[in-house]
Symmetry: C2
Subunit: 356 residues, 2 copies
Amino acid sequence: MSLYQTVSVDLGDRSYPIIIGRGLLGGNFDLADYVRGTDCFVVSNETVAPLYLDKLRPNLAGRNVASFSLPDGESFKSVATMQTILDELLASGANRDTTVIALGGGVVGDIAGFAAACFMRGVAFIQVPTTLLAQVDSSVGGKTGVNHEKGKNLIGAFHQPRLVLIDTDTLDTLPVREFRAGLAEVIKYGAICDPAFFTWLESNMSGLLEKDPKLLAYAIQRSCELKAEVVAGDERETGRRAILNFGHTFGHAIERCLGYGEWLHGEAVAAGMIMAADLSGITAADLARLKGLVGAAGLPTEAPAIAGDRWLEAMGMDKKIRQKQLRFVLLRALGEAYLSADYDGARLEALIGAGA
Amino acid sequence: MSLYQTVSVDLGDRSYPIIIGRGLLGGNFDLADYVRGTDCFVVSNETVAPLYLDKLRPNLAGRNVASFSLPDGESFKSVATMQTILDELLASGANRDTTVIALGGGVVGDIAGFAAACFMRGVAFIQVPTTLLAQVDSSVGGKTGVNHEKGKNLIGAFHQPRLVLIDTDTLDTLPVREFRAGLAEVIKYGAICDPAFFTWLESNMSGLLEKDPKLLAYAIQRSCELKAEVVAGDERETGRRAILNFGHTFGHAIERCLGYGEWLHGEAVAAGMIMAADLSGITAADLARLKGLVGAAGLPTEAPAIAGDRWLEAMGMDKKIRQKQLRFVLLRALGEAYLSADYDGARLEALIGAGA
């Protein structure tokens, strides 16, 4: 029951393992080595906590476990919720040796991680992601934060976890729409840096959609390996790490224009990746393969109707702006991404339907 | 006019200089090398901005300078004010390449630094401290943060500045009570790690109180050197850096019990140092020298009347707690501090007037 794979994130004295396997909750993976003090504080949400909080407790035998559940949803990923978590931490008697554990999806992980980063200037943090998106993306790499009305993740910190514990059985309870949204980030890794993985995904997408355990474990493991590799080379995103944002400039704009939550993040990224690939000027064959794989995952291949000036305004707040010049993650070919401000302006205008 | 001393804070790729001198504001020190992008955002307060904001502008020639002034006072060092600063940063069009500049005392520096740490997961930050306390202590070392109703600095981050620019002429406008409060931290450095500096302070306290420029420059420089040395050895306070908190466990409790602002931080630390020295069991002669120097600086040598149980409650929230065991910074002798949970409980009870 407790066989698992380990992926290492190599960041010097901030290195940590990602443990991936089935049946890891319920005490099959002892968290003792990763909980420094006697106290843990689990942050979860009202959907996930009833399903998995009691399953997590046996992994924390001998520790004091306090917990707090947020309401479910991206709209609660705010400074206000963050302050509530800090209030609850203090009310529980938490101290510098308390370990904060995020049990849930990306929203829970991002906000719990940011709370851990800021509580007493930083306490230990463990990620237990329960959505595919969080397992392959947001739980790895140390980005934490909350949204601002002007944009997503505008307020946050880099704060690496001590451990990421991925029990793939948690995906059994994940709604299919969210599962598919997570596949968008899996596809992204193939598209930006691993053509062989992209090909593997083309061959195995139907099995993944059926949640075949072996295929799923491999897809998660490979995604984590690729993310770990990129993050290890550029922890604070001063350069290459930005390629992980492939599709995200357009994707974030879609989320902003529709209102957060209308499209899931992965859905917006899916359509955004195809726009970014199109802007890149890759071959029609490569573009067709990307569209094909995104479509096979049941994800949108086209952006919703948004006016050109709203696109530009929404993209104007994107964090990848430098000196007011838009920068995009583009593809030389499938599996080879780069960050550039040198793109075809006319093609961009055509893509977003803006006037010349 | 622009002669200055440089103290280096050696933190690998986060190293930075502290520039100390007279007449540095007004363009006599060009900030161009330390402002990465085209945009600066100056955070100040309603007392300091009218005095020094226009003086700072010539140091930033050729840059876009936006600014925001907080109300003056420790009570504004809150998550709510922090959020206002983040709102203002976004409203000004700030981006990842914006440099946040703190112009003011410790409150401004701590909150502006925390905003810089969290804005887009961290932007460049410069400290221009205008109080003695900020010049010798809070502007150096990267501690940033805000208060919580349960205690001071409970929410924050480590975020090193790229530069600390100390124009000692700003002390001309500093109220005498605040100037003396700053001297408490200067005395602290001598008491914890430099007996020769302590002796120098005993010989020169009257000249310092008259703000003799040469004495003042040396006292600030030596304080910064000592702090830089301790911080370089333990950036994130996992060990020795804690000695910088000498007198602060008692001091923070005094501030909490009286209500923040009733006693200035330095005043509370002054009385706290004498309590901590007493708890240490150093010789009566050493204790008398510390009391003498604190008194000569016009600082309180005794804590205000606080009931024993309020002391304990107030100290219970101190961040130096580990495993619920109180730890204090104690002295082996003047100039030699250490962190320990091994103190004389009866002596502590006697000091705070708690029942046995």
